[in-house]
């Protein structure tokens, strides 16, 4: 990993809802290895910006330079798990799509102490268990860029600890992280930098 290479950049990005600009002239650069906390009120445009960074949508004006999807891990509001499939099937499915090794999924389940229920359908899992599986979906392929939308919201205590741990590890590997959150203390413990949005503008 080269120390301060630019991993992610936005140049004069605008994104509209109809005629209403949800993002207005956003410009920034994020160097590789940084952990950026994206702050702002509800409706300030955080989710919209994160979706652009994860290439879920394209800006109407301006450009975004981001690593390809194979190197990106995205965790949105939903868990992204299939209820009828087992924990291991879920992780394997997402792993294959991202080109992760088969062992990564089993490793992950061991790590979050769910290997004894690996073959049970996710439907039967408690909320905390699902969250731990879901983290694996975004992390198991060791992405260079992690885009996380409110990752701490609704997590139980154990998952919060786990998430902090995994995020630190990812930073240690040289990954870049962009995350939005309301839980300021949890995020500030990790963040190397903050970006603040107010009504679609960076402030």
């Amino acid at each position: 990993m080269q120390g301060s290479a630019v991993m992610l950049s936005a140049q004069g990005v605008w994104r509209y809802f109809g005629d209403f600009p949800a993002l207005r002239d956003i410009t920034f650069e994020i160097e590789a290895g940084a952990c950026v906390a994206l702050l702002g009120h509800n409706g300030a445009g955080k989710t919209t910006l994160l979706k652009l960074l994860a290439r879920l949508a394209a800006p109407q004006k301006g450009t975004i330079a981001a690593p390809p999807l194979t190197d990106t891990g995205y965790l949105g509001h939903g868990l992204g798990l299939y209820e009828d499939l087992s924990a291991i099937e879920n992780l394997r499915f997402w792993g294959e799509l991202h080109g992760a090794a088969a062992e990564a999924s089993t490793e992950w389940l061991k790590r979050v102490e769910l290997d004894h229920v690996a073959a049970a359908p996710v439907r039967q899992f408690s909320r905390g268990m699902r969250q731990r599986v879901a983290l694996g979906r975004a992390f198991q392929h060791f992405p260079k860029l992690l885009v996380l939308d409110e990752p701490f919201t609704g997590l139980d205590e154990r998952s919060v600890k786990l998430l902090q741990e995994v995020l630190r590890e990812a930073l240690g590997r040289g990954s870049t992280i962009v995350l939005s959150s309301h839980q300021i203390p949890e995020v500030m413990a990790l963040a190397t930098r903050t970006l603040k949005l107010d009504r679609g503008r960076l402030v």
Binding site: A57, L69, G80, E83, D84, F93, L97
Partner: protein, 221 residues
């Protein structure tokens, strides 16, 4: 791209085989409709061979609407669709995988319900079995490729179960007419014009190409 499409198709099939939500619904709807129609149209009537093929395709297209409806709707829970879009799978592969899964599920339902149809309406398809299988496959693909596309277009709507058939059926009229004519040919033993085959193949090619070309547009914001 083909590998990714197959992964998606396999996942959808596995999900369907576990939950059987659309399989069961489609299969029982098919049988119920076959029984109901037998009251509206007398299967013992002289001319029943003339119209029973058309009736079969009506029933199959209802089952098809049920199945394609679930195709993208099953990605809604836990925001899986968003996670799929954020994955490196090309949109065209995602679309094709889902269409293939729908095709296989619908073919399964159709083949399972076929004996019931043959018995209830005293029909033999053995006169030209290959012809019938070809018709079945080509028409089922026409239904699923267009249906899956509209499943994607309507996935975020509150009334998608109602909207999808309203939007798709009018567009499906040409292939369904062709299927009805070809099936009538198989049942009566007087082969239908090959022009209907050309119509089906033409429809499949044009609309598959269009759907694959537009999948990227539909699946990214």
């Amino acid at each position: 791209m083909i590998a990714a499409a197959w992964q998606i198709a396999r996942k959808d099939l596995r999900q369907e085989l576990r939950s059987k939500e659309s399989l069961n619904a489609a299969l029982s709807l098919t049988v119920v409709l076959l029984i109901l129609f037998s009251f509206a149209f007398d299967p013992a009537a002289e001319d029943s061979k003339q119209w029973s093929g058309g009736l079969l395709w009506l029933v199959y297209s209802f089952a098809g609407a049920l199945i394609v409806n679930r195709s993208f709707a099953r990605e809604l829970m836990n925001d899986c669709l968003e996670a799929l879009r954020a994955s490196p799978v090309p949109s065209s592969a995602l679309f094709l995988g889902k269409a293939v899964a729908c095709f296989l599920i619908l073919m399964g339902v159709e083949l399972t319900a076929l004996p019931a149809f043959c018995i209830f309406y005293d029909v033999s398809l053995l006169g030209a079995p290959l012809m019938f299988i070809a018709t079945l496959a080509l028409t089922t693909w026409a239904v699923t490729v267009l249906g899956t596309m509209f499943s994607a277009l309507t996935v975020n709507l509150h009334m998608r179960e109602l909207m999808l058939p309203v939007l798709v059926y009018p567009m499906l009229i040409p292939p369904l007419v062709a299927a009805i004519e070809l099936t009538r040919g198989v049942i009566t033993g007087e082969p239908a014009s090959e022009i209907w085959f050309r119509l089906l193949i033409g429809f499949d090619i044009i609309f598959t190409a269009l759907a694959v070309a537009l999948a990227e547009v539909v699946l990214t914001d």
